[in-house]
């Protein structure tokens, strides 16, 4: 029956062509000022250059692409209608997915440096992915669980990074000493920002936090006495292995000499990788535990309906502030690691784009989903890396991917929410 109905609805060839022609026309209008025409600098003055073949190609591609895409989508829809699965079946499959996937990811992460022990690039990239995973898990507390839209998360990341950089270069603090202090300081900044602004409606909060992120960056650029301005802070000490530095030579005990190994620069790369893996897993454990505690349930309840929360006697200001502080603290800790790993930081690393990427990771992953954050970080970090061959197109592809993933799955890659506790009653229902 549905087949018959759809067959009637399926557009004729003429309609398809007209549709594709309309798209091609819009493409032409969009393309003329950007692709067809450009200005080039010739001897200090601009001249107009034309690229009509490029424009023609673009329009033709749009025409053909639309024709094929529409055709394919119609086919797909038809196929889906015909073999509609039994009700309930997809839900079950959906639920089974995350449990083994999470352990699988952890297992792969654990053995990755051993498998690729000769490939510095892969371990480095994986370390970057893990930084984003940790940041994503931190922001997930604020955005995913508590539902507070924050566009300036990078500010807390910067606070952590600069805190460690200054303590280490000025006062000789070690990584492990600075970590709790930086986390605490970032949490303090979170409270400072949250206290006056948490009464604001969602989108107002977004713009205020964006403004806060910019304020922190501008201060870092201009307060040269503190931050060394745009030049940044260099030669930040790297973390040590319980006091054993990673360096060649025999002056004092080093990591290599202590374990009787030959010095290799890879040791530090591996150590940093396992360090961020440990920090990230600690974050994961911490956040997952919190989610199952009253505070975590209150976060989610505030996200769902803050008025109902108040009617149940929950002080929503405290709940939101705690989410802010904990999210900020985790961001700060990630910042400490970032500074220690790079050895050099400058305000360049803490622009709005960074906030946007972290937020995208949380939303693309599926708000509140821990595993979703991992998958989204993989996609968003690896996508530009894979596109390195056509380096100039990578951010273009990145933007397009953000749009496409959202359209494909508006709830995020993993939008399933696991309850924090279950009733196992007399009926024995698990």
């Amino acid at each position: 029956m549905p087949v018959v109905v759809l067959a009637h609805q399926a557009p004729s060839a003429k309609e398809r062509l007209r549709d594709a022609a309309a798209v091609a026309f819009v493409a032409l209008l969009l393309g003329i000022p950007m692709l067809g025409l450009t200005t080039v600098d010739q001897g200090g003055a601009l001249h107009v250059a034309t690229r009509w073949p490029v424009l023609g190609l673009f329009v033709a591609l749009c025409f053909a692409g639309r024709l094929l895409a529409r055709f394919g989508l119609d086919r797909l829809q038809l196929a889906r209608r015909v073999q509609r699965p039994a009700v309930g079946a997809p839900a079950r499959r959906y639920r089974a997915l995350p449990s083994w996937l999470g352990w699988g990811c952890f297992g792969i992460a654990l053995v990755l440096p051993i498998v690729f022990s000769d490939n510095r690039y892969i371990v480095d990239t994986a370390t970057t992915v893990l930084i984003y995973v940790m940041l994503g898990w931190g922001l997930n507390v604020v955005v995913g669980l508590a539902g507070l839209l924050v566009l300036g998360y990078v500010a807390f990341y910067a606070v952590g990074a600069y805190c460690y950089a200054l303590l280490a270069t000025q006062y000789g603090w070690g990584f492990w000493q600075a970590l709790p202090l930086a986390g605490g300081l970032a949490a303090g900044f979170g409270l400072l920002l949250g206290w006056p602004t948490l009464r604001l409606r969602g989108d107002y909060l977004a713009i205020v936090t964006l403004g806060f992120g910019e304020i922190v960056r501008i201060i870092l650029v201009n307060w040269t006495d503190l931050s060394n301005g745009p030049n940044g802070i260099a030669s930040i000490p790297r973390p040590t292995f319980f006091g054993l530095p990673f360096k060649p030579g025999d002056d004092g005990t080093t990591f290599a000499s202590f374990f009787g190994l030959e010095f290799s620069p890879l040791h530090r790369i591996f150590f940093l990788y396992y360090l961020i893996l440990a920090l990230a897993m600690l974050t994961n454990l911490f956040v997952s535990r919190l989610r199952k505690l009253p505070i975590g349930r209150a976060w989610e309840a505030v996200r769902e309906d803050d008025i109902a929360c108040q009617a149940l006697g929950i002080n929503i200001t405290n709940v939101k502030l705690s989410a802010f502080a904990i999210g900020a603290m985790l961001g700060g800790c990630a910042g400490v690691f970032f500074a220690a790993r790079q050895g050099f930081i400058s305000p360049e690393s803490f622009t709005f784009n960074e906030s946007a990427i972290i937020l995208a990771i949380v939303v693309l992953g599926g708000m509140g989903s821990q595993l979703g954050v991992v998958l989204a970080s993989l996609v968003l970090v690896l996508l530009p890396e894979l596109g390195r061959d056509f380096a100039e197109y990578r951010m273009l592809l990145f933007g397009a991917a953000m749009i496409l993933i959202m359209i494909w799955k508006p709830g995020g890659i993993l939008s399933h929410r696991e309850p924090t506790l279950r009733y196992r009653g007399e009926s024995g229902s698990p």
């Binding site: 349930r297 309840a301 309906d305 108040q310 149940l312 006697g313 506790l421």
Partner: protein
Amino acid sequence: MNPYRLLLHVDRLSMRFGGLMAIDDLSFDVHAGRITAVIGPNGAGKTTFFNCLTGFYRPTAGRVCLHHPQRGVLDLETLESHQVASQAQVVRTFQNVRLFPKMTVLENLIVAQHNRLQQASRFSLAGLIGLPGYRRAEAQAIEVAVDRLKRLNLIERADSVAGDLPYGMQRRIEIARALCVDPILLCLDEPAAGLNPRESAELNELLQSLVRDEGLAILLIEHDMNVVMNVSDHICVLNYGRKIAEGSPAEIRNNPHVIKAYLGEEEEDEDGAMKFPAESVP
């Protein structure tokens, strides 16, 4: 004269929105162990009254005194909305159901016990390392929730996502959740709206049993006259923010002012009693 203890005393309460007097000099009493209904045509100020009572609005004038059995007299109009629930133990439901739609029914009821659990978790520290004290508190909270769910016939749905359930059931869940806060006064805003006749009969029974068995006081806003007339001990009628009548169901049924407010000037049945229209609620 009245054998029931005074619980809530509303004293000359007024609420003004710009030029509109939503509540105008309203005074009445609520007694412990009784069901008091607030009725009136749409726009009479009933929900506004609830909002003033539970700290969502600050009244323009007047007082709302709660005579708490342990904590003495509390001025509700000075408390924040969350303090009304946590300190005064006055808990409300909403006209348009406000559950936590993506959380399960059980989670909804556990969230309602937040303050107790949060203290037991020592602001999450004891909870994080899983100390036995916290575990006990959690088990106890689950027990309370399960008990409420059983009582409201919802236990089968404990692990269902609240937002996916039918409307009538969501209304019951909201009442169950409110009960988990351990109220002494339960304020229900149109609990029977959208229920079918069988469900609203069950609601009648539930309300009466809550008062009978647990000694709760209930303050009820309702349009469904079946519910109001059957369960209420005392009715207060509002129109344009003013109290126009107060009394037992029988008194209200025959009160000419009430009939006028509901039906207009001349419309009156031969026997003088009015038939309340079962108003459809948006």
